[in-house]
């Protein structure tokens, strides 16, 4: 705990990253796919002499410019802010390894932004060939930003043996290329490019479905059908790339996906399977709707359909990102750093020397509940909240102090096949710190209330339960004797 803890009540810090990232990804992927879509569509219109559609494409490029260069750029910075606050240790590790990677990405990003602005403002002002070249320059620059960031993101799931061998020695940056071109680099890159092309298609369908001028009907049908083709690579190649990706990740990570097939357990452990399932179903639905309304009957494509497609794409993207992040559990950087920022190689030392003694922000006190709260903030709060997302009040299920102690003992040294070991970082620290955490958790563990029930079939009792299948009295409080009938 070298950094102060950022406490986000109810929502939890992880969801702040999640929301900002999903918003950013939806725009950034469009920036990459749309970058290629615009000059290719423009070139097609020139070639096929469909210039009546050029104004629609210009309108699309304005929407593109505003969305990517304003919202994309702002949300990108938002990711930096949020990961720095929620996962300072992990962010520090990434910066120390990839600082030059990021520097290069920013160069490409500046080129991308400049090219996007030039592309939009020079429609009909410079020769067409030159305008197309600006468009392709944009496409290349934006693709290169993805090529870079993909190395860093995929590193977190599969850092690779070469990097792990030197992790913690201070010479990690010497394995930059091994870490960058890690085992999941190429399947991830291809999956992301496929998603980028699909999103470019979906956003274009939104612009096109808004154009309902009768004079443009013929071009509209043609362009809508052509745009449907942008989603085809996704559906043809995605299953193969997904299998390749799953093959490349360690078996214990794959095991997390299998966990949710045969049980819902307490819910939290199997979320990743359930969410991954959404990716599949929403992606297949996008395929179905695009086939029906963009390919088969392009005349019937309405704005409602396009918006629904975008909504499905949002769910697909959010689910995939969530699943990708969660499948890494219990790590934030696989086999190196746990999701609470504790390094794997430090576990034995912290258990011997203590957790709080290494935490420079811990207040000086002998109150065990306060100290336990500090352990909670440091080790639990990167994933849990007190009463919101993955709420401790709910997950403790009303355990008393003794039962909490037993749970913490399991978390400290989980049995080999325990779900806790697969999903959660081990609880680290000396026994007195674990006891302090137990004291704190006991203060927030609420026993589920029970309503004393008196089933009194006396005819004069007032509360009727009609046709309802679950029809007890409504305002049943624990301290109030309730008569149900």
């Amino acid at each position: 705990m070298n950094y102060p803890v950022w406490e986000v009540p109810k929502l939890g810090g992880a969801w702040v990253i999640g929301i900002v990232s999903i918003f950013h990804v939806l725009i950034a992927w469009f920036a990459v796919g749309g970058g290629l879509y615009l000059p290719m569509a423009e070139s097609k219109l020139y070639r096929e002499k469909r210039e009546d559609w050029l104004p629609v494409l210009m309108k699309h490029s304005r929407f593109f410019l505003v969305l990517t260069s304003i919202f994309g750029a702002v949300s990108g910075v938002g990711i930096w802010f949020s990961i720095g606050l929620v996962h300072p240790e992990a962010t520090s590790t990434l910066i120390h390894n990839f600082v030059f990677g990021w520097a290069i990405e920013w160069v490409f990003f500046v080129v991308e932004l400049a090219a996007a602005a030039v592309y939009y403002y020079t429609w009909n002002r410079i020769p067409r060939e030159l305008h197309l070249k600006v468009g392709y320059l944009y496409a290349i620059a934006s693709l290169l930003t993805l090529v870079i960031i993909n190395g860093i993101l995929s590193f977190m799931l599969t850092p690779g043996r070469a990097w792990l061998d030197v992790a913690g020695t201070g010479t990690e940056a010497s394995r930059f290329w091994w870490a960058f071109f890690n085992p999941t680099y190429f399947p991830s890159l291809i999956m992301r490019i496929l998603a980028c092309l699909s999103l470019a298609g979906i956003y274009a369908l939104i612009t096109y479905s808004r154009s309902d001028e009768e004079a443009l009907a013929k071009s509209r049908i043609h362009m809508v059908r052509w745009t449907a083709g942008w989603l085809a690579p996704m559906f043809l190649l995605m299953p193969l790339t997904l299998l390749w990706f799953l093959h490349q990740i360690p078996s214990e990570n794959r095991g997390l996906l299998e966990l949710g097939m045969n049980t819902i357990g307490s819910g939290a452990f199997t979320q990743v399977t359930r969410i991954a399932m959404l990716t599949i179903i929403t992606t297949l639905t996008i395929a179905g709707v695009v086939y029906l309304f963009a390919y088969k009957w392009p005349r019937d494509l309405s704005l409602g359909h396009s918006i629904a497609l975008l909504g499905l794409a949002v769910i697909a993207t959010a689910s995939t990102e969530y699943a990708r992040e969660t499948v890494r559990k219990p790590y934030v950087i696989s086999a190196h750093m746990y999701s609470n920022g504790v390094r794997k190689r430090d576990v034995a030392r912290i258990n011997a020397e203590g957790y709080l003694s290494r935490s420079i922000w811990t207040p000086v006190t002998s109150n065990t509940v306060t100290l336990g709260h500090q352990v909670f903030r440091g080790q639990c709060m990167s994933c849990h909240t007190v009463g919101g997302y993955r709420a401790m009040t709910q997950l403790l299920q009303g355990r008393d102090r003794k039962a909490i102690g037993q749970l913490l003992a399991t978390l400290h040294d989980p049995p080999k096949d325990s779900m806790y070991r697969k999903y959660m970082p081990p609880l680290v620290g000396k026994q007195d710190e674990i006891d302090a955490l137990g004291d704190y958790l006991a203060t927030i563990s609420v026993k589920p209330a029970e309503a004393p029930l008196k089933l009194a079939p006396t005819p004069a009792a007032p509360t009727p339960a009609p046709v309802a299948p679950t029809a007890p009295t409504a305002a049943a409080t624990p301290d109030k004797k309730v008569t149900l009938r």
Binding site: F293, L453, P457, A460, P464, P469, T470, A474, R485
Partner: protein, 355 residues
């Protein structure tokens, strides 16, 4: 291919049906969106049918009911998914039927010659609610047990005939394995036997009379009215809606899978905060309010009377609103609809706030 088609069409004698489908059109206007809700309801029912059949493969009514649902939820591969889909699609089915019913009401699609479409639709809604009621007990966890126990106290409170009726439904003096067996028979045999032919009649009537146009559209000259072919255009749009609905069900099942409570214990306490499913909440709250205002039988009787009269008026509306869109009866019918929908929403929200 065409020869095979002709062979089949000729032997099945479905030439007329195909011709009907080819020539059928669906009106296109600003309220066309509401036409999809019947289809969405149908789709939700089909999802329930399929998921229900899959649950039948593992569910065992009687003394093993709870254990079999526990196996489905925690052991069978994707059993939790099928169960969650079944439960969520039940809620979505009733929600879409309610939306469908109110849209039919406000578009005045119950008027001649579509009265029987209205009656059969109401019948399907009623059976749908009974499906919900009977399905609720089947897991036999604490919540299901106490809810049913309490629910069945209602008929038993009717003097003289009440207790024998309640015992008949329960299969004894207490809710137990025989009750589950009976509810299961109702849920998986009797209700489907009633529902499916009624659904067939409802769908046939829709095909026979076509989609009704709202009063605003009726005043337009026929030449100005727009329509789209039923096949393939409207069917494709319907299919898209079905796909979206499937995704909503999947989303709900994945994010909020149905859990299973503790095994029911006749001697245990009822859990706090149990309340009816949302589709019974407005009735429940109304009866509760009447019960408080008029303690004893008076409140219960008043509440029940109000409901019976309300439902009767609602069902008989096609016989009242018969004099054209501009008539005062048509306006009164619309006001009645607004009153009913407001009352239902207010009572439901109130019910949830006072849980």
């Amino acid at each position: 291919m065409s020869k095979t088609q002709d062979y089949i069409v000729e032997r099945l004698g479905i030439g007329e049906v195909l011709a009907h489908a080819r020539n059928k059109t669906v009106p296109k206007h600003e309220y066309s969106f509401w036409y999809y809700w019947g289809g969405i309801s149908l789709f939700c029912f089909l999802v329930q049918l399929v998921s229900g059949i899959l649950l039948l493969l593992y569910y065992r009514p009687g003394p093993e009911a709870y254990d079999s649902v526990r196996q489905i939820t925690y052991e069978t591969h994707f059993g939790w998914l099928i169960r969650s889909v079944h439960n969520w699609s039940a809620s979505l089915f009733l929600a879409s039927v309610f939306i469908h019913m109110f849209s039919v009401f406000f578009m005045k699609a119950y008027r001649s010659p579509r009265e029987f479409g209205w009656f059969t639709g109401l019948g399907l809604l009623g059976i749908g609610m009974l499906f919900g009621f009977s399905g609720y007990l089947l897991p036999m966890d604490t919540l299901a047990y106490f809810a049913t126990k309490v629910g069945l106290d209602i008929p038993s409170s009717i003097p003289i005939v009440g207790p024998p009726i309640a015992n008949l439904i329960r299969g004894g003096l207490e809710v137990g394995e025989f009750t589950v067996q009976r509810f299961f028979t109702l849920h998986a045999v009797i209700l489907p036997l009633l529902f499916l032919p009624l659904l067939g009649l409802h769908l046939w009537l829709v095909q026979k009379h076509g989609n009704a146009v709202p009063p605003g559209e009726e005043t337009k000259p026929v030449a100005e009215r727009k329509s789209i072919p039923f096949f393939p255009n409207f069917v494709a749009k319907d299919l898209a809606m079905w796909l979206i609905t499937l995704n909503v069900i999947a989303l709900l099942a994945a994010l909020f899978p149905w859990q299973l409570g503790e095994m029911s214990d006749p001697l245990g306490s009822a859990p706090v905060g149990i309340h009816p499913e949302w589709y019974f909440m407005s009735q429940f709250q109304t009866l509760k309010v009447f019960g408080k205002l008029f303690p004893g039988y008076a409140g219960e009787a008043l509440g029940m009377t109000l409901f019976t009269v309300g439902i009767a008026l609602w069902a008989l509306i096609p016989f009242y609103d018969i004099r054209g869109a501009a008539s005062s009866r048509a306006k009164k019918a619309t006001y009645f609809g607004i009153a009913v929908i407001t009352f239902t929403i207010v009572m439901t929200v109130w019910g949830y706030l006072s849980v």
